[in-house]
Each structure stands twice: as structure tokens, then as C-alpha cells.
Symmetry: C2
Subunit: 534 residues, 2 copies
């Protein structure tokens, strides 16, 4: 197509521009970081930018160049934040390894990334000691924090603070193609080896801009953001970047995401916005209920990773005046997919209806990432809130290929998420299942999530898991596995009776067993393990 | 620099994606348009998208193809909105001609653009009749509205509604390079011929995303936006695009920006956000004060184009609870440059100080557009709020070259705005003068704006203009021209006395004359005409 080209500036979207902006426009806005064995650290965006430039200089002296990979095994701290900017800023790629994976998986991702440097937090030193002989490509191990000089086993690793102290910070961020790689993040897929998603500068900047809009997180310069999703999980939802674009104060809780630590940081630092998986907020709410602490300046909590328990959202709102937003996304979507912010169309239906949608849906479509649901042969399904299909997405911050070169999206850019859901006429997505967890029974689908949610409501049930087991007539039938609360013993009869009024008759599981339910590294039910067992 | 490329989707940022998003995610959100001789028009984003696709089909049948230019002489209406999406969406370029320019300038811009089609609103038919023989390249004149069939002089023009009625709207927006041209907008420079700024799809989308952030306009889906800056002035500040991205209701006032019309629309349509030049808001405030009307749901008014009178901002806030935001920008910056939203650093200085900054500065730096001030030889000056220098900007929505190929920015991307200003430590810009209006006296600069603002405060003075006149000793000295209020007659002595306590002694004008002050097509003081006269 012969086009006329526009005549505006073709300046690349680069991660370094985010930090340079914050250092200039919001230079004294604070960053507070908890650390493993050190007192709390406080500085601001200007000094963060200075140290990030020092880090880039230090990496240059170690021979790191454009396109090289550098891994981190690190918590939510200011040093990790500096690497989020320094490594992509200089044109290299930060692989944020997940310390919660198994040793074998961690080694796999670092080796697969072909990283030359490994940064690690001090309490992960034992892990690094175990792994180091399985990481033949790592040339330098760099400790983020204070080494224990008296440790006789201490291997010859470098000290991040020493490296920085030798640099003057007089470094100009290079300008390059905005499609260059910036961050490499592996999925913790329950099937097969972890897959690498390679974010570009462009995808990170566009995602961070979109995250700040009021349809999503809606940040303003007065917000104080505490990311309680780990920085190695899809860049903590892009919050370290969105905070800088919006001039927000950033509070980094290190690895201390227990209820007491969060409650203290939220109050003391004036946190207005936080986000994380439901487990964290369960601990937080339990702690403040027991201690009688208040929520300080907290206004909004974004919860993702699993469905938000209704009681949690209601407690936050009714007792503490905090709005809960649900979010759905995945490593492959950077991770912002949908978020449950209200709209006038919903509000027009009345508060009860709007609340019901906001509490039970994952969220609504955002500008920049398209959604659709398709049937078994790829035909788009209507947005009627009834028909469930495979959820597909595309957009500037959606994966095209897995690292180094495995196709992820189809020729039209549609990436199949592996989730099953409905979209209603308000554009709100409701996930009904993972594609691999859906139970195909007699040509119809049974939602394992709906069945699990119904079972969890039965007194005495702590966790419920549903898997499909082969059946000669119906193809598959649901098997329900129940882990009761400590000291309680609901019977199969109790549970069947509870379910009977809540789900379709043909959904009722043929078998109910009582067992301990295995969880994955990210706190989700490990259905792979259950399928192997049953 | 050898880089590793990211593996995210390289989907282009295109104007059509904005409309498709709104039509899907906010489909029933309303658009209300006043029209010249027709009743008010109401529809929604879904139907707007349908008619934009019909318009693209109609243009295709008229032979318009990629890169072709199409001009509009049109007000803020839904039809003009459709062209904002249809023309760029199909890969052509919309030139939004300014009907307030002189006939010669209008003809110049349309011919310079080499447009093949001219759309025009019904009350601009007399203008088009005068101009048509000076527009040899225009193949089709298309009336936006209902033709007066009984007009014996009616030339053979097409009817927009007829053209649309013949199309079914079954049209797929093509995908193409995001750097393709989308909108061509000419400056109404007071020196020389108008210059064409050619916005790209990329610059428009990035600008519209940034405009929605809380550092700028901070839209949410409940906002009702009424652009009172004309759509032919730098796309009405990008509001027609930002409204769609944020799911806002859009209220288009046609050409009726008088106080009574605005007051009615603001109340009846629930307008929460509006923006325009100070003149419009003077009329609006005078009207509601006289009529006793209230401001309805109005929350924020953004004022740009000239400095905001302090009394206006204070009246809006104290009497009506409306926040006034100042904005500075120009056609060359799409136009978002800076905007006066508060920050914690300002707030920490206390309300009085913060108010003073917000009322007297043009605004603060936004992510995506860099600012600097430089001295006479191009060295950057510090952000101390004291030292004034030439304001330069760069960024993804800043002009690189004027159409068709005239350099506008330097090799590093810095575009010299022609404005003189200071930037303070909070990152707030204060314009002190236009570079060409500054008076160079004895090696120092006298700000004509500061002198005019001081003179306007003197009782009896309606407008004050300051120009530099050659002086044998001092190089230049200020000449003050005063237009008194009807029926009032302040003396030169009154004015000198008033100024004496407000400006430096050496700033005091040697001569003060009383005269009618000429204004430009955009309502600014026409200093070019004054310089010619004196």
C-alpha cells in the first residue's frame, strides 16, 4: 500500500526514557525499600536514576554488551528496581528468574536464557551455592546486599555496592530500536518446561502507559504504590515502570509479604495502591482484623492470579472503604489483560447489578489489547455473557513468539490463552476454566472452576479441586478432591447435598475423595500432580 | 549496535484501532452533536464507527486512495468526527482547514496540501463559493449537512448523507505502517505562510494515550467531554481520540461557542470536562453570572492558547467548584506540551505556594515530551525558575519536518518553539514571552507579556500591547499601546503610575499610545500589524 509518511519525530519508546522522565519531573519523589539483612532504604527517582547509570557502567566494565542476558534471583527491592532500568537501558536483557521454582527449573531458565551474569539477594545465597555448578555460562555472580565475610564457604562473588561505588554515574543511555529486547520472563507453566517471553522496550513502555489510565490502575502523582506481586512475575504487573511515568512513590516490600509486614508498610508509608494474589490479602486482612490496625491511606487493591473470593472484596469495601479491582493477565500479556473498573453502562443497571459484575468478572477490555472468544473451530462467539469459548488476545504487549523462536500467536496475531470464558455485553470477561482443566462430558463442558467454587462454600471444606477422569460413556466425568479444614470432617453426602442446589445435576461429581491438595510454586492447585495421582 | 529483538507483537498504532476499541468496549456511550441548521444529533461509538466505515467506503468510490489528501472546512460536529476516523483509517490524510483564516490563506493551505476533496459545513457554503475557482485540484465538494435545494447559485456539490446512505459499512480498516500520515494541520503563524504539520498514526495514538493520564486530562469512563477548541486547531487537543480511548461521552458544540449555548450544553448533557481559549470562558462566566445558571456536573476546565487570567481561575474555583488547568502547546506539539496538574512536591510547600504556581505557570512536564530552555548559543539553562531561555521540546508527538519537507527540529530532535520561558525546580514552565516579541534593551530582555499583564491591571484598560521599537542607544525600547474600555479614558500618567510599582524601572515604556488593538484569526494580539503601524 503506497502511503504518505507522517513528519513527526520517530523517537523510540525506550525503558531509559521512563527513568529519565521520573528523575527530571518527579526527582524528589520517594522510593522506599525493605531489604533482607539491612535497614530500610530510602531515596528518590533522581538518585535511583544515578545508581541505575552506575549499574550500567559497572556492567559495561564486566563486558556486558547489547543483547547480552543478565539474570536476577531477587526480591522486590530498590536494587532490583535499578536493574529493571540499568540492564534494558544499556541495551542488554534482564532475565528475572523465579526463586520459587524448583532448582532444576531455575537452572533450566538461566541456562536457556544463556545469561552471563547472575545477580542474587543475600538470602538466596544458599540456592545459588547449590546451583552454581549447574550454571556453566555464568561468568559473574553478583551479590545484591552485604556479603557475610565470615562465611567460609563463600564463593568468589562480586558485590553490587562495591561495583557501583567504583562508577561515577556519568553515562548516557544509548538510543536504539524500540523493538529491542528488554526483559525476559519465563512462564511457570504446569505443563512442560517454562517458556520464555521476551518483552521489548516498545511493549514495556506502551503497557506502562496503558496501566496508568483510569480504565486500568488510574495512577496520579499522589499515589503511593506497593507492588506485592513479585518483580520476577511479569515485572510485578509493570508497576515499577508505571510508577515512574506517573510520578508515584514506590514502596518495595522485599520478600516480606506476610500480613504484619504489609500492614506496617501500608500504614507507615501511606500506601494508597497495592496489588497481589489473593493469598497475600487473606493474610493481610486476617492480620489487621486480629491486631486492630487500620488500612491507613489505602484506597485500592488490585487482585489477580486467581479469582477473588467474594468475601474478601466485600470485607475490603464494607469494613475498610478499600476498592478491590480484579485483574486478569499472564506473563504472555505483560501482564495487563482485563481489569474490573466500572463503566457508565454498568452503573446504569443499578448498584446491585454493577457490583455483581465487578465482583464476579475478571474485568473489562482495555485500549491496546483486543479480546475474543472462539468456539472449537475458531469462529468468534458473541459477547452475550452465556456462550463460553477459548479466550484469545492480541496487541502491542502480547507475545508473538517464545524465546528464542517458537510461535505463540497465529498469523493474525491471536494468542490463545488456554483459558475458557464468556464476555458479556458490557465487555466484561468471566473465566470459566483453563482449557486443559475443562471437563468434556457428553459433548458439553463442565467448568471445574465453578464446581470448585461451589464446593468451597460447603462448611468444613478448605480447598476443593476438580479434575476430569476418563469415562467410557461420557468421555470424561468430574472427580472432586476435598481437603477439609484442620479438625473438620465433612462427608461426601454433606458435599453432594451442598452442591445439588448450586450446580446442574449432570455436573455432580460421581466420586468425591478426601486428600491433601498439592499447590504449585505460585500457590495454584497443581492439577498436573492430581491427574498423575488419580 | 547489535541488539537482540524482543518477541512481542509488532502491531501498528493506528487511528482506526481507537475507534474499533470504543465501538466494542464502550459501544453505547453517547455522542451528542449540535449542527448548523439541523436538530441536535445523538448516537454512540458503535454507530459512529459504522458511519465512519461508510464514509471510508464512499471516499473509496470517489477514487480516494492511500496517501491522498482530503480537506475539511468544518465545525465541531459528529460528521467531522467521522472524518477524523474515516480518512486516516483508510490510509488517506485529513487536512483540517481553518475557516477563520483569510480567503487567501485558506486557499493557500488547501492548494498546498494538494487536496482532492473538500468537505464543508452548510454555513461555510458562501466561503466555498468564493473560493472554489481558486481550488483547481479539488475534484469533489461535499456538503456536510442539508443542501438548500432552492439556492439557484448552488454549485454541483455532493451530499455527505447521500454518499453514506449508498454504503453498507461492511469495510475492514487496512493495517499499515504506524508512521503513515493521518492528519495535516497548518499553523496560523503571524509570520509568513501557514506551515503544515503532518501528524502520523503513531503520534496521534501516543498523544491520545498520554492525554488520558492523570498528569494531563485524567479521563475516566464517566467523563463527559466537550471540546471547545476547534477541531481544526491541532485536532481539538486530541480530545476526539482521547475520548474514545477512555470511553467518554463526547459533546460537540458545532460553531456555537457563545456563553448561552455552552451553558445549556454543559447543564443538559452533564459535561464534566471542557477546554478552550480564555475568551470562550470569559463569555461563559459572564453568561452564567447574569443568568444565574449553575455549572451542572462540570468539574474541570482546561484553558490554553493564551495565559489564563487569574480572576477567571479564581472565579471558577471559588464560586463554582471547578478546577482550572492551564495547558501550553502548539500545532507542532499535537498540541499537548505541559499542563498544570498538581504534584506532591508542590503540595508539600503549602496551599498558598502551590496555588500560586498552578495559577501562574503554564504547566508541568509530561511523560513523552521532553522540555529544555537554552541560552542564546544553545546551552541548556538550569531549572531554577529564574533564568529565562528559548523553550525547546522533543518527543514522539513533536514535529520533525514541516510538510512537504522543511526541517523543523534539529539533529537531536529539539524543536525550538519560539517561546521564551523559565522552568522551576518543580518542573513547571512559565512562559515569559514569544522569542520574536521579547524586547532586547541594553543587553537585557524585557518581557512584553509581563508588561502587558501589568498594564491590563490598570483601571480603564481593556487590552494592552507592547512592542519593541528601535532605539539608538538601547537597541530596543518598549512601546505600550492601550485600548481603553468603552467610555473610559485612563491617562498615560495613570498607567505609568500603575506600572511603576509593578515592573523594573528600566522596563517602563518611554511612550504610551491609545489606539484600537488588532487581533488575529485566533484572537491573539496581532503584533505583526502593530509593528507595521508603529
Amino acid at each position: 500500500m503506497p502511503m504518505l509518511m507522517g513528519l513527526m519525530q520517530g523517537r523510540p519508546l525506550q525503558v531509559s526514557e521512563i527513568l529519565s522522565y521520573a528523575a527530571r519531573a518527579h526527582r524528589e519523589r520517594e522510593i522506599v525499600s525493605e531489604l533482607v539483612n539491612e535497614p530500610v532504604w530510602r531515596y528518590d527517582w533522581e538518585r535511583c536514576a544515578h545508581r541505575a547509570r552506575q549499574a550500567a557502567q559497572a556492567l559495561t566494565t564486566l563486558g556486558v554488551g547489547p543483547g547480552d542476558r543478565v539474570s536476577s534471583l531477587a526480591w522486590n527491592t530498590h536494587r532490583h528496581l535499578e536493574l529493571f532500568y540499568a540492564v534494558p537501558g544499556m541495551g542488554a536483557v534482564l532475565h528475572t528468574a523465579n526463586p520459587r521454582l524448583s532448582d532444576a527449573q531455575i537452572a533450566y531458565t538461566i541456562n536457556h536464557a544463556e545469561s552471563r551474569i547472575l545477580f542474587f539477594d543475600v538470602n538466596l545465597a544458599p540456592l545459588v551455592k547449590r546451583l552454581r555448578h549447574r550454571l556453566p555460562r555464568i561468568e559473574h555472580f553478583i551479590l545484591l546486599g552485604q556479603a557475610n565475610a565470615s562465611d567460609p564457604d563463600s564463593p568468589p562473588w562480586l558485590d553490587y555496592e562495591d561495583l557501583l561505588a567504583r562508577q561515577n554515574g556519568d553515562f548516557d543511555w544509548p538510543s536504539f530500536d524500540e523493538n529491542a529486547a528488554a526483559i525476559l520472563c519465563y512462564t511457570s507453566g504446569t505443563t512442560g518446561d517454562p517458556k520464555g517471553v521476551l518483552y521489548s522496550h516498545r511493549s514495556i513502555v506502551l503497557h506502562a502507559m496503558a496501566a496508568g489510565l483510569n480504565s486500568a490502575f488510574g495512577f496520579n502523582a499522589f499515589d503511593v504504590i506497593m507492588p506485592c506481586s513479585s518483580m520476577y512475575h511479569a515485572t510485578a504487573w509493570g508497576l515499577p515502570y508505571a510508577a515512574a511515568i506517573n510520578g508515584c512513590k514506590l514502596v518495595l516490600p522485599c520478600d516480606r509479604m506476610d500480613g504484619a509486614s504489609l500492614a506496617r508498610l501500608i500504614c507507615d508509608e501511606g500506601v494508597t495502591f497495592s496489588g497481589g494474589v489473593p493469598t497475600i490479602w487473606t493474610m493481610y486482612l486476617a492480620h489487621i482484623a486480629a491486631s486492630g490496625q487500620d488500612v491507613g491511606a489505602l484506597k485500592r487493591v488490585v487482585i489477580g492470579g486467581s479469582a477473588v473470593p467474594r468475601a474478601m472484596a466485600e470485607t475490603f469495601r464494607a469494613r475498610y472503604g478499600v476498592t478491590v479491582l480484579q485483574i486478569w493477565g499472564m506473563t504472555e500479556t505483560s501482564p495487563l489483560g482485563v481489569i474490573s473498573t466500572p463503566t457508565p453502562a454498568l452503573a446504569a443497571e443499578g448498584d446491585t447489578f454493577a457490583d455483581e459484575i465487578l465482583l464476579t468478572r475478571q474485568g473489562r477490555m482495555q485500549f491496546g489489547i483486543e479480546l475474543r472468544i472462539v468456539d472449537g473451530i475458531g469462529n468468534p462467539l458473541p459477547w452475550d455473557g452465556e456462550q463460553a469459548g477459548a479466550l484469545q488476545v492480541r496487541g502491542a504487549w502480547v507475545v508473538e513468539r517464545y524465546f528464542p523462536d517458537i510461535r505463540a500467536a497465529d498469523a493474525n496475531g491471536w494468542f490463545d490463552t488456554g483459558d475458557i470464558g464468556t464476555i458479556d455485553r458490557f465487555g466484561f470477561l468471566r473465566l470459566t476454566d483453563r482449557a486443559k482443566d475443562v471437563i468434556k462430558s457428553g459433548g458439553e463442558w463442565i467448568s471445574s472452576i465453578d464446581l470448585e467454587n461451589a464446593a468451597v462454600g460447603c462448611p468444613g471444606v478448605r480447598i476443593a479441586a476438580v479434575i476430569g477422569v476418563p469415562h467410557p460413556k461420557w468421555e470424561e466425568r468430574p472427580l472432586l478432591i476435598i481437603e477439609p479444614h484442620e479438625g473438620q470432617a465433612p462427608t461426601a453426602e454433606d458435599i453432594r447435598e451442598h452442591l445439588a442446589s448450586r450446580v446442574a445435576k449432570w455436573w455432580l461429581p460421581d466420586d468425591i475423595v478426601f486428600d491433601r491438595i498439592p499447590l504449585t510454586a505460585t500457590g495454584k492447585i497443581d492439577k498436573k500432580a492430581l491427574r498423575e495421582k488419580y
